[in-house]
C-alpha cells in the first residue's frame, strides 16, 4: 500500500469549544490509483488531506492517528523531512492556483526554479524541461506562455501551469483539492483529462477532492464520501454509484437534477442543512436529516466497517 491512514483525528481548540474537524478517518491508497474524496463544504476533506501532508500549521490543532506513506510513519516526522517529501514525491494542487504561484515572477521562471530545487540541472536545461511540461498540459504556445506573469493568464491556464509544476517532479502521489471548482465546465473537462493522462503516463496515484459527484464518477477508481468529519461510505466507483448504501449518499445522488430524460416535477431534497461541528447531534451525525433514523441511530455513532464497500450506517449493517 502506498498510503495508509488509520484513525486520523484532527481537532481545533477554538474560543467556542473544541471543533472535531476529523473524527476517525481511515483509508488506503494503492500506487497508480485515483481516490475521489467527495463531501459538502465543511465535511473535512481539506483538513484530512492537509493533515496527511503535514501542512496543518494552526498551533491550536491536535492531530492523532497514523499516516504511513511507503512504509514510513509521517506523524511525528520532522518538518524538514516532510518538506523534502512534498517537493520530490508528493505534489499538490489547490482550488486557487495562486496558492502555488508568485505574482512577481514569470511562469517559466517559477517552474524552472521548482525543478532546480530538486534536481541538479543547468538553468537552460530546466527551461527546456519547462517548455516540454507546458506543452504536456496543453498550452498551445508554451514558449510564449513561459514569459507570462500569472495575472496575464486565465484561471484555467494558471491551474494548468500549476499542474505542469506538479508534474515537474514526476510525483508518485498527487493530491488535488477542488482544483476545478472555480473553473467553467469546459475548462474543467480539460483538467480532468490531464489528471487521467498523468496517471496513465506516470502511474501517479491521485487523491482528488471535490463536492461534485459527477466529477468523482468520471475520474475516480475508488470513492470516499465524507459527512461531518467522518467517512460515511467507501467503495469502488461502480459499487458506490450503482449500489449506494448510505442514506446520505443515496439522498445526495437523488437530489442532483438529471441532465437528460424527463425532469422530475420536484427534486427529492434533503431536509435541513449540515450540522455545526460544535453542536453535533447525538448518535449518527446525519440522523436529523435521514429518512431512516430509527432508535439505534440516536443511541450511538455508526462506524464504517471493513470491506471494500462499506457504509457507516446502522440500518445498512442491520
Amino acid at each position: 500500500m502506498m498510503l495508509s491512514v488509520r484513525d486520523l483525528r484532527v481537532s481545533f481548540r477554538t474560543h467556542e469549544g473544541l471543533v472535531r474537524a476529523i473524527d476517525g478517518v481511515s483509508f488506503d491508497l494503492k500506487e497508480g490509483e485515483i481516490l475521489g474524496v467527495v463531501g459538502e463544504s465543511g465535511s473535512g476533506k481539506t483538513v484530512s488531506l492537509l493533515a496527511v501532508m503535514g501542512l496543518i500549521t494552526d498551533p491550536n490543532a491536535v492531530i492523532e492517528g497514523s499516516i504511513r506513506y511507503r512504509e514510513r510513519e509521517l506523524v511525528g516526522l520532522p518538518a524538514r523531512e516532510l518538506r523534502r517529501l512534498r517537493g520530490s514525491e508528493i505534489a499538490m494542487i489547490f482550488q486557487d492556483p495562486m496558492t502555488a504561484l508568485t505574482p512577481v515572477y514569470t511562469i517559466g521562471w517559477q517552474i524552472a526554479e521548482q525543478i532546480r530545487a530538486h534536481k541538479r540541472i543547468s538553468k537552460s536545461q530546466a527551461l527546456e524541461r519547462v517548455e516540454e511540461l507546458l506543452a504536456e498540459v496543453n498550452f498551445p504556445n508554451p514558449r510564449e506562455a513561459m514569459s507570462r506573469y500569472p495575472h496575464q493568464l486565465s484561471g484555467g491556464m494558471r491551474q494548468r501551469a500549476v499542474i505542469a509544476m506538479a508534474l515537474s517532479c514526476n510525483p508518485a502521489l498527487l493530491v488535488a483539492d477542488e482544483p476545478t471548482t472555480a473553473l467553467d465546465v469546459t475548462v474543467q473537462a480539460g483538467i480532468l483529462d490531464l489528471v487521467r493522462k498523468l496517471r496513465a503516463t506516470h502511474n501517479s496515484a491521485v487523491v482528488f477532492i471535490t463536492h461534485d459527484m459527477g466529477v468523482v464518477s468520471e475520474l475516480a477508481d475508488r470513492v470516499m464520501v465524507m459527512y461531518a468529519g467522518r467517512v460515511v461510505e467507501r467503495g469502488s466507483r461502480t459499487e458506490l454509484f450503482s449500489d449506494p448504501q448510505h442514506p446520505y449518499t443515496r439522498a445526495l445522488l437523488g437530489s442532483i437534477p438529471p441532465l437528460t430524460g424527463e425532469k422530475p416535477h420536484r427534486l427529492p431534497a434533503i431536509p435541513g442543512s449540515p450540522p455545526s461541528l460544535l453542536r453535533l447531534p447525538e448518535g449518527c451525525a446525519f440522523g436529523p436529516r435521514c429518512p431512516v433514523n430509527y432508535e439505534p441511530c440516536r443511541a450511538g455513532k455508526p462506524v464504517l466497517g471493513d470491506g471494500n464497500h462499506a457504509a457507516a450506517c446502522f440500518r445498512v449493517q442491520a
Binding site: 459538502e40 463544504s41 496543453n138 498551445p140 486565465s154 484555467g156 491556464m157 467553467d184 465546465v185 469546459t186 475548462v187 474543467q188 473537462a189 480539460g190 480532468l192 483529462d193 463536492h211 461534485d212 459527484m213 459527477g214 466529477v215 464518477s217 468520471e218 466507483r237 461502480t238 454509484f241 450503482s242 439522498a251 445526495l252 445522488l253 437530489s255 442532483i256 437534477p257 438529471p258 441532465l259 437528460t260 425532469k263 422530475p264 420536484r266 427534486l267 427529492p268 431534497a269 434533503i270 431536509p271 442543512s273 449540515p274 436529516r289
Partner: protein, 329 residues
C-alpha cells in the same frame, strides 16, 4: 387578461458596453463589449435560463434587465412599455414588479439588522402599509419561504446559507413582483441544500404566478428550472430554445461542447458520453474575434466563419441558432 398576450419583458438588440482604463493609461480608454445585441422575449409565467462560461455577460444582462445598469444601446420593454431610458422616478412603478436575487445572500443582507426587519424594508419604502400590516405581511412571507415565525428576530449570521437565501427570496417577493431575475441563487449553497431552494422557487412560481430569469453555472440545475434556455457566448445569444429539447439536441457547436462537458454520474463504466473538449480560452470581450465569435475555438469552423458573423435565426418554431452550420436533427 389582455396583458398576458404580450411578452412581460423584451429586449431589442440590447447592448451594454463598459469603458475601462483612462485616456492617460498606457492603453488608453478601451471598451468591454459585455452584452452585445441581445434580442430576447420573455413570456408571462415562463422561466428563461441563461447559461454560458463565466464572463459571457449573464450578470451584466441580468442587471440591465432590472435597470440596475444603464443600457448602452437597444431597447428594453416591460409589458410593451419602453423603459430603456426611464429616469429613477419614472421607474418607480416598474421597480416593484421587477426584482432580483443574488448569489451571495449575505452580501446583500445588512448583518446588523434582524432578518424580519430586512424583509420589512421594501414594504416600508414602497408601500403605505401600517406597521401592523407590515408585521403581518412579513409573517406571511416567512411562511411562504419556509422560515419559522420566530426567525424574524434573528440576525443573518445566525442562519445557514440556505436559510439566508430564503431571506433573500422573501425580500425579493415582498412587493408581489411579476418578474424575478435570479443570478446564481443556488451556487453558493451546499449541494444538499440546493434542491430545497430549487423546489422553493418552483413552488413560489406556481403560487405567485411569477416569471423567472434564472442564471446558474450548474447546467443540470438550469435545465431543471427552465422552460426555455438561452446559451450566451461573448455577450451574445448563440442558441435559444425549449430547455429539454435544447439539451437533447444542441445545434450550435458551442452549446454541444458546453453540455458535453458537464460531468454526470455514470453507473456503468461503458456509458461514457462523447465529450467535445474546447481548446483555448474564451477570447476577451475587449477585442472580440472577427466573424463568428466562437470560430477560434470551434471544431468545425471554416473560412466563412472567420469573416462572416452568423445571425441568430429561427430554424424551427422556438429554436434560434447563430451558426453557419448548425446540427439540425
Amino acid at each position: 387578461m389582455i396583458e398576458k398576450d404580450r411578452p412581460i419583458l423584451e429586449t431589442r438588440e440590447l447592448s451594454k458596453r463598459f469603458s475601462i482604463g483612462t485616456r492617460f493609461s498606457s492603453q488608453g480608454r478601451r471598451t468591454v463589449h459585455a452584452v452585445d445585441n441581445v434580442s430576447l422575449t420573455v413570456q408571462h409565467g415562463e422561466t428563461v435560463g441563461l447559461v454560458g462560461e463565466s464572463g459571457c455577460g449573464k450578470s451584466t444582462l441580468a442587471r440591465c434587465l432590472v435597470r440596475l445598469y444603464d443600457i448602452t444601446d437597444g431597447q428594453l420593454l416591460f409589458e410593451g412599455d419602453d423603459i430603456t431610458a426611464k429616469s429613477l422616478a419614472e421607474l418607480r412603478p416598474f421597480r416593484r414588479r421587477l426584482q432580483m436575487v443574488f448569489q451571495d445572500p449575505s452580501a446583500s443582507l445588512n448583518p446588523r439588522r434582524r432578518v424580519g426587519d430586512l424583509v420589512a424594508e421594501p414594504l416600508r419604502i414602497h408601500t403605505k402599509l401600517s406597521s401592523r400590516e407590515i408585521t403581518k405581511r412579513v409573517a406571511e412571507l416567512f411562511d411562504l419561504v419556509g422560515l419559522l415565525p420566530d426567525h424574524v428576530m434573528r440576525y443573518p449570521h445566525e442562519f445557514s446559507g440556505g436559510q439566508r437565501q430564503r431571506v433573500g427570496i422573501a425580500r425579493a417577493i415582498a412587493l408581489n413582483p411579476d418578474l424575478v431575475v435570479l443570478d446564481e441563487p443556488v451556487s453558493a449553497l451546499d449541494v444538499s441544500v440546493q434542491a430545497q431552494i430549487v423546489n422553493l422557487l418552483a413552488d413560489l412560481q406556481e403560487k405567485l404566478k411569477l416569471t423567472y430569469i434564472f442564471i446558474a453555472h450548474d447546467l443540470s440545475v438550469v435545465r431543471q428550472v427552465s422552460t426555455r434556455i438561452a446559451v450566451m457566448y461573448l455577450g451574445s445569444i448563440v442558441e435559444e430554445g425549449p430547455a429539454e429539447e435544447l439539451f437533447a439536441t444542441p445545434a450550435h457547436p458551442y452549446s454541444q461542447a458546453l453540455i458535453s462537458a458537464v460531468p454526470v454520474v455514470e453507473t456503468t463504466p461503458s456509458g461514457q458520453r462523447r465529450r467535445i473538449i474546447l481548446t483555448g480560452d474564451v477570447p476577451s470581450p475587449l477585442n472580440p474575434p472577427s466573424g463568428c465569435r466562437f470560430h477560434p475555438r470551434c471544431p468545425i469552423a471554416v473560412d466563412k466563419c472567420r469573416v462572416e458573423r452568423p445571425a441568430l435565426t429561427e430554424h424551427r418554431s422556438g429554436r434560434r441558432i447563430a451558426c453557419h452550420f448548425p446540427t439540425l436533427k
